[in-house]
Subunit: 213 residues, 2 copies
């Protein structure tokens, strides 16, 4: 890819499979909405058929443009299945709050989630691989790539970088207070939302001068 | 189930499929470890074959004894597939920290995760259903079940409660500082862990007197 190539912008494809049937008012097929949810997280779950059974694995991911990337060992059984052509179903979900209603039935959660169906492509070209791996570090701390030791040739050989088009994708979200039945609003019980989020603490510096035994 | 029946304690089955091949030092098959990770979260991802393709869905879950439970609409396509006999692969993952190493290659995450393979059973007996649904609310706020309106008959008819044996299960976790190559410890870059956790804020009371328009 050259610097001045136009950005790839495949449409978000709305297929029968990624069109939400249940609670469809909570769904979105807007690229900006989907990207924002993805950029707000670190761990996806990749599901695929491995040796005839459905397997799923939590994994670190990051987004560059219209693709979601993961990396890992070449010996990973899930990666091998994806390279053999198995389709991935990728989910990212953020919990935003517990919704405590006045009735058991209307208890709920506030959340934002994305589901993507895609086949993996391996990123093999050296320049693209470096650019994509750089992003995996830079999103953790801007400028960090310039400070750390870059991957060696043996490290690169053992690492597989996989990209997934964010195209057959959908977002689903709920926000706001509980929605109870009209007759229940008078019940003498606290109702509302207990908000939550992934919160980061102060960095804990590693003062070791050598690898732990 | 009667009150004085002995607790069910199926062993955690270590099968070829749930025995971790990669980084097996991070794995555990201990029931207490697995239960503790499950009890520390709210959202699982259930993956299964639906109409021939792998699908995954984030969902609220809770644990009672040696089973993990979820509930939802009878019209949920994933639930239908599970009731038709498709096996579920259930993952729960908690991110505990970003591990910033001195080399790109050794960047990592601190996490705790569980993967369970299981077939669903529908909870149909009225007494067990009520007990299990009670737990779904009580874990959010102890004593709450006694304060809210209980499910009506129509609500119960539309709700499916599914249980999954926590048996063919495994836990995987990483903790602690980065582990860099010996030669990299002298590099002039901050290394360590940025801890994170799901943090809850003050409850936001719903002051509506009727459902939002």
């Amino acid at each position: 890819m050259t610097e001045d190539a136009p950005p790839k912008t495949p449409p978000i494809l709305q297929t029968p499979r990624n069109t939400l049937q249940r609670l469809s008012r909570r769904a979105s097929y807007d690229r900006a909405v989907i990207h924002a949810i993805l950029d707000d997280g670190y761990v996806a779950v990749i599901s695929a058929l491995v040796e005839g059974a459905v397997r799923a694995q939590p994994i670190y991911y990051w987004r560059v443009g219209d693709e979601l990337f993961v990396h890992g060992s070449r010996h990973n059984a899930l990666f091998k299945a994806l390279m053999d052509g198995q389709e991935a179903c990728i989910t990212v979900a953020h919990l935003d709050g517990l919704v405590l209603a006045r009735s058991a039935f209307h208890h709920s959660m506030n959340y934002r989630s994305v589901v993507i169906y895609a086949h993996a492509r391996e990123v093999t070209a050296a320049a693209e691989r470096t650019a994509v791996l750089k992003q995996s570090v830079e999103r953790l701390a801007a400028g960090r790539w310039g400070q750390i030791r870059k991957p060696s040739e043996p490290e690169l050989r053992g690492t597989m970088v996989l990209g997934f088009a964010i195209s057959e994708a959908s977002a689903k979200a709920r926000s706001g207070p509980p929605v109870d039945d009209p007759d229940d609003y008078g019940l003498p019980v606290w109702a509302g939302v207990v908000p939550c989020k992934l919160a980061f603490g102060e960095g804990e510096e590693d003062t070791n001068a050598q690898p732990p035994a």
